[in-house]
C-alpha cells in the first residue's frame, strides 16, 4: 500500500478515478508487500537474468478502462492455462491419479476462463502471449506445485485488487464468478503441498482478509514469465 499512497503525491486517494501508472521494471523489487506469491516469484525472477517484457508491443496493447482490465485478466488466465497445459502434458513422475485429475480440472477451468475472455473481448482482445517457464522444473512435484501456488495466490490477489477499478457491473460480476474459483484452486494446491495451509497467515491477514494487489504489482510479479511485449500504459491501476 505504501507505494500506491506515494503515487498520489500527497493527495487523498481518488475513489473513482484510478491513477494510471505505467508499469516500470525498475520498481520490481520495491513491492516487498506483494505477499507470499510475490516473494516466490520475485526470487525466481531475480535468479534469472531475463530482462522481462518490454512494455511496448503493439499486438499486446491492453486498451483502456474496463477493456484494459479484461485484457489484464485475459493475460493472467493465458499464463495459468499455459502453465497447467504443460503440467498435464508433461506430468511429474510421481503424480497420483487424483492429482492428475485435479491438475486436469484446473487446466480446463483456466482454459475456460481464457477462452471466455477471448470470446468476450472479440476484436479488442490482445494477441496470444508467449511465456517463459524455464524457471519451472516440470518433472519436480515440488517445483510444479510451488509455481501453481504462486500463480493461484497471485490470481486471487489480482482479481481482489482490480475489482474496484471495474466500471461495468456486469464485468464486475464476471470477475467475482472467477475469483472464487481461483481461490478454490489456491486452497487445494496449498493443501497438496502442506495439508492445512489452504488459508494460513501467508494469505489471510488478522482481519480474515485474503490477498489483494494492484495491477501494477501483479504484472511486475508475473513479468519474468511473460515473453511477449505487452503495453499496459492505459491500464487502470493505483
Amino acid at each position: 500500500m505504501e507505494s500506491s499512497i506515494k503515487k498520489t503525491n500527497g493527495q487523498p486517494l481518488p475513489s473513482d478515478r484510478p491513477t494510471e501508472t505505467p508499469v516500470r521494471r525498475r520498481q520490481f523489487l520495491q513491492y516487498a508487500g506483494a505477499g507470499a506469491a510475490a516473494a516466490v516469484l520475485v526470487a525466481w525472477g531475480c535468479k534469472k537474468d531475463d530482462p522481462g517484457p518490454d512494455m511496448g508491443g503493439k499486438g499486446f496493447y491492453f486498451g483502456s478502462g474496463d477493456i484494459a482490465i479484461l485484457n489484464y485478466a485475459y493475460a493472467l488466465e493465458q499464463l495459468e492455462a499455459a502453465f497447467y497445459t504443460e503440467v498435464t502434458s508433461n506430468p511429474y513422475g510421481s503424480i497420483s491419479d487424483w492429482e492428475r485429475a485435479l491438475m486436469t480440472d484446473i487446466r480446463d477451468h483456466e482454459i475456460a476462463h481464457r477462452e471466455f475472455f477471448k470470446a468476450a473481448l472479440g476484436q479488442q482482445a490482445i494477441d496470444s502471449l508467449t511465456f517463459d517457464f524455464s524457471a519451472v522444473n516440470f518433472s519436480s512435484r515440488g517445483s510444479v506445485l510451488a509455481t501453481a501456488r504462486a500463480f493461484e495466490d497471485l490470481g486471487v490477489s489480482a482479481y481482489n485488487g482490480a475489482g474496484w477499478l471495474i466500471q461495468d457491473v456486469n464485468y464486475l460480476a464476471l470477475a467475482g464468478k472467477i475469483v472464487s474459483v481461483e481461490a478454490r484452486h489456491a486452497a487445494l494446491v496449498r493443501d497438496l503441498i502442506d495439508n492445512g495451509s489452504f488459508a494460513n497467515d501467508e494469505v489471510i491477514d488478522a482481519n480474515g482478509l485474503d490477498l489483494s494487489n494492484s495491477p501494477t504489482v501483479v504484472l511486475e510479479v508475473a513479468a519474468p514469465f511473460i515473453k511477449s511485449k505487452i503495453d499496459v500504459t492505459d491500464l487502470p491501476t493505483y
Binding site: T85, A112, A173, S180, A187, L188, N207, G208
Partner: protein, 275 residues
C-alpha cells in the same frame, strides 16, 4: 491488505480523513461511490425479519450489504465455535486444526465488519443449527457437521458475490468484501476435501462445485446450489469453447465459474438456522 492500515495511511496524506469518516455511518455513505444512485427500494433486505433493524436504521446500500455480510459471519462464527467446543465431534489432528483456522477467520470477519459498521452493526441473531430438528445431530455427528459447514461456506461465497454490484467502484469496501469472499472460497475448498476424505455420500466431492448440488447431502441443500449448473457467461456458452481434447465439458463449464445467489435466496437459507 488491511482496511485499517489503509485508513492510517490515508490519514497521513489527508489529515481530515478521520473527520470525514466519523461517524461511521457518514463514512460508509461517503465511501460508496454508487451509494446514492441505487434506490433503497430496490434493496432486497426487507425480506426476513432478520434485517429489519439494519434496514430501518440505515437505508443505504453499503451499510445494508455490510450488515447482511455481518449476519452471515455471525452464523458461521457461532457454528464453528460451537463445533470446536463440542467434545469428541471433530477428530484430533488436521481436522481440528483446519476447523480452528476457519473458526478464527469467521470470528475475525465478525470483528472486522462490526468495527467498520460501528453503531450501525446489527445484533447477533439467535441461531438454531438443527434447523428445527432437520440436523438434530449437527454437533454430535462429524459428517453432519461437515455437510453443514460446506453448505454454509458455499452459500457464503455465493452471497458475497451477489452483492458485489452494490459496492461497485468502492475501493475500501468492495476490496474488503472481495477479500472476505476469497477467504470463504478457500474454506469451501478445504471443507470439500475434508468431506471427500470421509468417503460415503461425499466420496466424489471436489474442491469446486460441479453442476447443481454435487454435495451428496440431498435435496435439502438444493437451494444452496441452485443455478450452479449454468454454462453460459455473458452470452458465451462455455461448452462451445475449445479445450485440449474437443470442446470444454459441461462439468468444466460449471466448475470454472461460481454463481451468485440473490439476497432473497441467501436469506431463505440462513433463515432456516435463525430462531
Amino acid at each position: 491488505m488491511n482496511i485499517f492500515n489503509i485508513f492510517d495511511e490515508i490519514t497521513q496524506v489527508d489529515p481530515e480523513f478521520h473527520e470525514r469518516v466519523s461517524p461511521r455511518r457518514t463514512a460508509i455513505r461517503n465511501l460508496a461511490s454508487m451509494g446514492t444512485k441505487v434506490a433503497a427500494a430496490t434493496l432486497p433486505f426487507m425480506l426476513g425479519s432478520l434485517f429489519k433493524k439494519a434496514y430501518g436504521q440505515v437505508p443505504t446500500d453499503v451499510t445494508g450489504v455490510l450488515n447482511y455480510a455481518l449476519t452471515l459471519e455471525y452464523l458461521e462464527a457461532e457454528f464453528y465455535t460451537m463445533g470446536t467446543a463440542a467434545a469428541g465431534l471433530i477428530p484430533v489432528g488436521p481436522p481440528q486444526g483446519a476447523i480452528a483456522t476457519i473458526r478464527d477467520h469467521e470470528i475475525a470477519h465478525v470483528a472486522f465488519l462490526k468495527q467498520v459498521l460501528g453503531s450501525d452493526a446489527v445484533s447477533k441473531p439467535e441461531f438454531d443449527f438443527t434447523a428445527g430438528g432437520t440436523f438434530g445431530n449437527v454437533f454430535t455427528d462429524y459428517d453432519t457437521f461437515l455437510a453443514l459447514a460446506q453448505a454454509f461456506e458455499d452459500t457464503g461465497v455465493r452471497a458475497y458475490k451477489g452483492q458485489a454490484g452494490l459496492l461497485k467502484g468502492n475501493q475500501v469496501v468492495l476490496t474488503a468484501a472481495l477479500q472476505i469472499h476469497a477467504a470463504e472460497a478457500r474454506h469451501a475448498s478445504h471443507i470439500r476435501q475434508m468431506r471427500r476424505a470421509r468417503g460415503g455420500a461425499a466420496a466424489a466431492q471436489k474442491p469446486w462445485i460441479t453442476g447443481a448440488n454435487d454435495s451428496g447431502i440431498g435435496a435439502v441443500v438444493d437451494p444452496v446450489y441452485a443455478g450452479e449448473d449454468n454454462v453460459s457467461q455473458a452470452g458465451v456458452n462455455i461448452t462451445s469453447l475449445n479445450g485440449i481434447e474437443g470442446k470444454l465439458s459441461a462439468n468444466a463449464a460449471t466448475e470454472s465459474f461460481d454463481e451468485p445467489l440473490t439476497a432473497e435466496a441467501v436469506l431463505d437459507i440462513a433463515g432456516l438456522f435463525i430462531k
